[in-house]
């Protein structure tokens, strides 16, 4: 049915009448209303999708050169670095791209935490984001195994052994993951297969994440909904231009590491071929796993009937899974920390707590580092389970502006915090 289509070009019109991709693109990326008050922290979603594309493209090219076999994997990566045309470039982009992906996504997440982007009606949007994070972690972990260096091998051994903490079936699961009795050729091959598969699953979930975003629209620094055209600007050209600025700056940052500090995020030990008979003296995961690694190691005694090993694993997975229920743990009536005088500080305390966990994760598990790690772990969970629910009840939010277009409420008339907060709930 041709509904008086807006397209003049007959070919576009013909296609659009049958498959409305042009109308869809126009609707979702041209006319799509964006809050006019977004700051540059709203760039990071676009940046993450750019990194995903860069990773897939370089990854496909690298896969053409890589050999997933314990005898050849290490040398095939060195062949890529030395003999393949621009192989060094592709490998460095892919290797640093992993770190860039996590930098961008972590900033994206902290943005969400600060401005309350996970709160109603965006709970599913946030939960899909947590799924994306989990998929990213699995993909990154398996990708790190492929070069078959010492850290690859021992990282794979340690992480797969986490599953042995599961009561009764743990050892069976670990053997299943390995396809043998240690990390070996079968493990490398399945990790390669899954490392290639996962990004496409990731793509699908990113698609859902974007669909959910386009239903509820972007949150914004004020954390109040758009009330009309005066509050919004069309996505194009305003946010194509603004996102492009972010992309330019980000590519500078990315390129600096690729060209001038390609091994900054890496470990020298991974330039030694995997040796199943010798563990490196100090094994650490990639930096983006450090906070979780610190939580894993912080449990040193059995708690009640739960062995320390199992508890560590549960807490580590719990530290991510708890994000799924964050939308219901946060009881505050307003979204943005801008209007939450206490949460504003709590947020930064939580941020520092995460950094501290990351530092602890990079240190040997002993002495002061261990104690700091335990305190930081307790606080991490307390933040979600105690601080967020209680703070929302006792904190008095600042008065919200009546609309995005008028960020200053002027005379400070009737709009009490409570009333403004109630308004927020209306779509």
């Amino acid at each position: 049915m041709s509904t008086g289509s807006q397209w003049k070009n007959p070919v576009i019109r013909w296609v659009d009448d049958r498959l409305p991709i042009f109308t869809y693109m126009d609707h979702e990326y041209q006319q799509f209303p964006m809050p006019r008050n977004l700051n540059y922290f709203w760039n990071f979603g676009a940046l993450a999708s750019i990194v995903l594309v860069v990773m897939v493209v370089t990854g496909v090219m690298l896969a053409m050169q890589y050999t997933p076999h314990v005898d050849y994997a290490f040398d095939s990566v060195e062949r890529i670095r030395r003999d393949v045309n621009y192989g060094w470039l592709l490998q460095y982009i892919h290797m640093n791209g992993g770190s860039m992906f996590f930098i961008v996504v972590y900033i994206h997440m902290f943005r969400g935490l600060y401005y309350g982007s996970y709160k109603a009606p965006r709970e599913l949007l946030w939960m899909l984001g947590v799924v994306i994070l989990l998929l990213m972690m699995a993909t990154a972990f398996m990708g790190y195994v492929l070069p078959w260096g010492q850290m690859s091998y021992w990282g794979a051994t340690v992480i797969t052994n986490l599953f042995s903490a599961i009561p009764l079936v743990g050892d069976w699961i670990v053997t299943l993951l390995w396809g043998g009795f240690s990390v070996d050729n079968a493990t490398l091959n399945r990790f390669y297969s899954l490392h290639y598969l996962m990004p496409f699953v990731l793509f699908a979930v990113v698609g859902l994440h974007v669909v959910a975003l386009h239903v509820s629209k972007s949150n914004n620094p004020d954390g109040i909904e758009m009330k009309g055209p005066q509050d919004s600007v069309p996505f194009h050209p305003y946010f194509t231009a603004k996102d492009s600025v972010g992309v330019g700056v980000f590519l500078l940052f990315f390129a600096f590491f690729v060209f001038y500090a390609p091994n900054f995020f890496g470990e020298p030990d991974n330039y030694i071929e995997a040796n199943p008979l010798q563990t490196p003296s100090h094994i650490v995961p990639e930096w983006y796993f450090l906070p979780f690694y610190a939580i894993l190691r912080s449990v040193t005694i059995d708690i009640l009937f739960i062995p320390a090993k199992l508890m560590g694993v549960l807490l580590m997975f719990g530290s991510i899974l708890i994000l799924f229920i964050l939308p219901w743990l946060d009881t505050a009536r307003v979204r943005s920390a801008k209007y939450r005088p206490i949460y504003k500080y709590i947020f930064w305390i939580f941020f520092v707590d995460c950094i501290a966990l990351g530092w602890v994760g990079s240190q040997p598990a002993e002495g002061t580092a261990l104690i700091i790690g335990q305190v930081a772990t307790v606080y991490y969970f307390a933040h979600f389970l105690l601080v967020m629910p209680i703070l929302g009840k006792i904190e008095t939010p600042l008065p919200l502006p009546s609309s995005i277009a008028e960020p200053v409420t002027g005379g400070g008339g009737g709009a009490s915090a409570g009333a403004a907060a109630a308004k927020m709930e209306k779509p």
Partner: protein, 183 residues
Amino acid sequence: MADTAASPESGDEDAGRRDFLILAAGAMGVVGAASFAWPLIDSMNPSAEVLALSTVDVDLDPIQEGQSITIVWQGKPVFVRRRTKAEIEQALKDDSAELRDPEKDGDRAQKPDWLVMIGLCTHLGCIPLGQKSTDPKGEFGGWFCPCHGSHYDTAGRIRKGPAPKNLPLPPYKFVDDKTILIG
């Protein structure tokens, strides 16, 4: 279409400058994307260690008259045949025959005794028979491609069948009387 959403009230000069900026940024974006695409594409070209293997020395000493050997050069079979007097004569005689891809025997063999060719049929890339003494050699006493029935003569020229060209010659040179360097 792209700029219709921008405000109409800005002056013409302003709009012109904006258009120029957008055009310049767009052009740079295209150049950047293309520059990024090149390393991706070039990574599929032969790598350094493959190119390093692109020459092969062949010792001719053990090959008797009427014998052929097949060696691998760049992953392709190369036929090296020490031709008999009769084959050379036949090849010279056929210089004046009607040829699909006319070439003199003298242009195909640097030394008449030695014929060096890439052993891939110019039709669709099968390896013609004729290297072993027991192989069928086709109607012209040279090589015969079993896939689609192309016949090559004693100088490797196409004489009958679907193939369009003579068997191609690799670049080679005689290092000395007993050795050739292919590639």
